[in-house]
């Protein structure tokens, strides 16, 4: 191992090519992962923030808030069910908002939510006509205390606080009480008007785990069905497709890293056959030589990953907020590094057979 590390330190030029290629691959992996995280945050933040165990939709809604209608009778049945503690109404409408100081056609995309049970990080519902705005809307010029004019009917809502990571479908959340949401909905989407007491969905919490709460809700009422919050996130249109597509690209990127490492260290092993023969002749075991290869592959990958991590963080700082949905997190960088390190170990393992086949007798007579 000391031998392998010394070679890295004394002959770094030998590893530059592999390090550069792996750095580019690591940047790609982290950047694509950051894009996926950013897109998912924009699509799912409002649902991820829900503090309840389950979300209840009407039977024919296909898990779409805009299609779902929960009647007061359904709510009463669910509220009285065993295994249910708290029930809160939930509704949303996606509209454009006019922001003071912006041009008349420069609308901010907003998701106006009406809620009763506060999601994580969101205070109790504000007074009628007021809302907490998602930090995302800062990029649209929204400021605290401003009165936004929502939708074609220009329904006024005043921003009274900020919340984070509550975007939905690419739109920044505006969190208001149910009456304000209902008013915005009726004035701007006459096709989707709901009667008093009717909400689009219910957020339900219970004493058991989420699956128990879902079972309790489904058993209590026929006209509705419940999903755990995780399932509700997956049911948002496009989320699974987005995740699946990106994860496949990320998987292919890791495989490319593996192939690069495998090829590079296979070539290095061929180049070092004579040296390995000498080392074996003077007492090196194959596992020592192979261990050195793995150490070198891991070290090169680690260096490439650190450089890539710094580059991706720098890129995140340079890109203007809101221009692309890039979300760089420590978790994503660590996950990328771990995947690349696994690829390094597996990739270098392709040289094991070649190392085992090096004959110490080749050192003599040459």
């Amino acid at each position: 191992m000391k031998l392998a590390l010394r070679e890295l330190v004394r002959k770094p030029g030998r590893f530059v090519t592999a390090t550069v290629i792996l750095t580019l691959i690591a940047v790609l992996l982290m950047f694509l992962g950051g894009l996926l995280d950013g897109l998912l945050r924009l699509s799912t933040g409002a649902i991820r923030a829900q503090s309840g165990d389950a979300i209840v939709y009407s039977e024919s809604s296909q898990s779409s808030f805009l299609r779902s209608r929960i009647e007061p009778a359904d709510r009463a049945a669910i509220e009285s069910a065993d295994g249910v503690d708290d029930v809160g109404g939930l509704g949303v409408v996606l509209l454009g908002a006019r922001v003071p100081g912006n041009g008349p056609r420069d609308l901010a995309n907003v998701a106006v939510w009406g809620y009763e049970l506060p999601p994580d990080g969101v205070p109790e519902p504000p007074a009628p006509g007021e809302a907490y705005a998602d930090e995302l809307l800062r990029a649209d010029g929204v400021e605290l205390g401003q009165e936004l004019l929502i939708g074609p009917a220009r329904t006024p809502i005043t921003v009274v606080g900020w919340v984070t990571d509550t975007a939905y479908n690419g739109s920044g959340g505006l969190w208001a009480d149910l009456d304000t949401w209902r008013q915005v909905l009726s004035e701007n989407r006459p096709d989707a008007v709901l009667a008093d007491g009717v909400v689009q969905a219910l957020v339900v919490s219970g004493p058991g785990d989420p699956a128990d709460v879902v079972a309790a809700v489904d058993a209590a009422n026929d006209g509705t069905y419940a999903l755990t919050v995780d399932d509700a996130i997956a049911a948002i249109p496009g989320v699974e497709e987005q995740s699946g597509t990106f994860n496949q690209i990320l998987g292919v990127t890791v495989v490319i890293a593996l192939v690069v490492i495998a090829l590079f260290f296979a070539l290095l092993t061929v180049e070092r056959t004579a040296l390995y023969g000498v080392l074996k002749a003077i007492g090196a075991r194959s596992r020592t030589i192979f261990g050195g290869l793995v150490v070198q592959a891991t070290a090169v990958t680690l260096v490439a990953s650190v450089i890539a991590g710094v580059l991706v963080v720098a890129l995140d700082l340079l890109i203007p907020p809101g221009s692309i949905p890039l979300y760089v997190s420590v978790g994503r960088i660590v996950l990328s590094v771990v995947l690349l390190l696994i690829a390094a170990v597996i990739g270098s393992a392709f040289s094991l057979r070649r190392v085992l086949r090096v004959d110490p007798a080749s050192a003599l007579g040459n």
Partner: protein, 226 residues
């Protein structure tokens, strides 16, 4: 009388190649005393390297007994032979073959790193050897910064690092000019004799046999004490 460094009795080495068998070493019997230096002389393909490989625990004999420093290695498997090589024999290869990215001192210490892992005693031994070999001021030099003779001396130091019973020199002067070759042979003789270590020097060159106690000829795998 101390035990011989090497006792080979009736050793055969046969290689199977397709349908043929090639006899590389044919009933070879050889004893090397505990501080004896022998020259093993023969043409290319005569079996010199095979004999050295078997004596050094790199190859296993097909038949016969091989005892090095009192240790019978004829039945050893790969792992046992590796341990044997770490502790009982030293090698000086034809093209020197120092590790290019290690300096002279580290090239000696690599033997300890791969084998016994003694630490400080090994470091002290490496320094002592470099001093004896006239390389104390070159200890930090990489092989690329050393002359041919200096590299050969480092290789001799490496072969002596594990305090071996037997050192095998594979054509140690073939890459050196006559004068340097003689100097290296003088050094080999004085180092081996001062330590009481046995050596086999494989060579084509009859001129260097004068530095050895005895010459053994080998032709077509057959030894002739001559």
């Amino acid at each position: 009388m101390s035990q011989p460094a090497l006792q080979m009795s009736d050793v055969r080495k046969v290689y199977s190649m397709a349908d043929n068998e090639v006899v590389a070493l044919d009933h070879a019997t050889l004893t090397v005393g505990s501080d004896e230096i022998i020259a093993l002389v023969g043409p290319s393909g005569s079996g010199k390297t095979t004999l050295c490989s078997i004596a050094g625990g790199i190859l296993s004999a097909t038949e016969g007994s091989v005892v090095v420093g009192g240790e019978e290695i004829g039945d050893y498997g790969d792992k046992e032979l590796t341990t044997f090589r770490q502790n009982k024999v030293g090698f000086v290869f034809q093209s020197v073959n120092l590790v290019p990215f290690l300096n002279a001192r580290e090239n000696l210490l690599v033997v300890d790193e791969l084998g016994r892992r003694e630490g400080k005693p090994a470091r002290d031994r490496a320094d002592r050897l470099l001093d004896e070999l006239g390389l104390a001021d070159r200890a930090k030099n990489l092989p690329s910064q050393l002359s041919g003779g200096q590299k050969q001396r480092v290789a001799i130091g490496r072969a002596l690092m594990n305090e071996p019973e037997l050192v095998l020199f594979d054509e140690p002067t073939s890459a050196l000019d006559t004068e340097l070759g003689q100097q290296v042979m003088e050094l080999i003789r004085s180092e081996m004799k001062s330590r009481g270590t046995a050596a086999i020097v494989v060579t084509h060159d009859e001129r260097i046999t004068s530095y050895c106690d005895r010459t053994v000829h080998i032709t077509d795998g057959v030894l002739d004490a001559g």
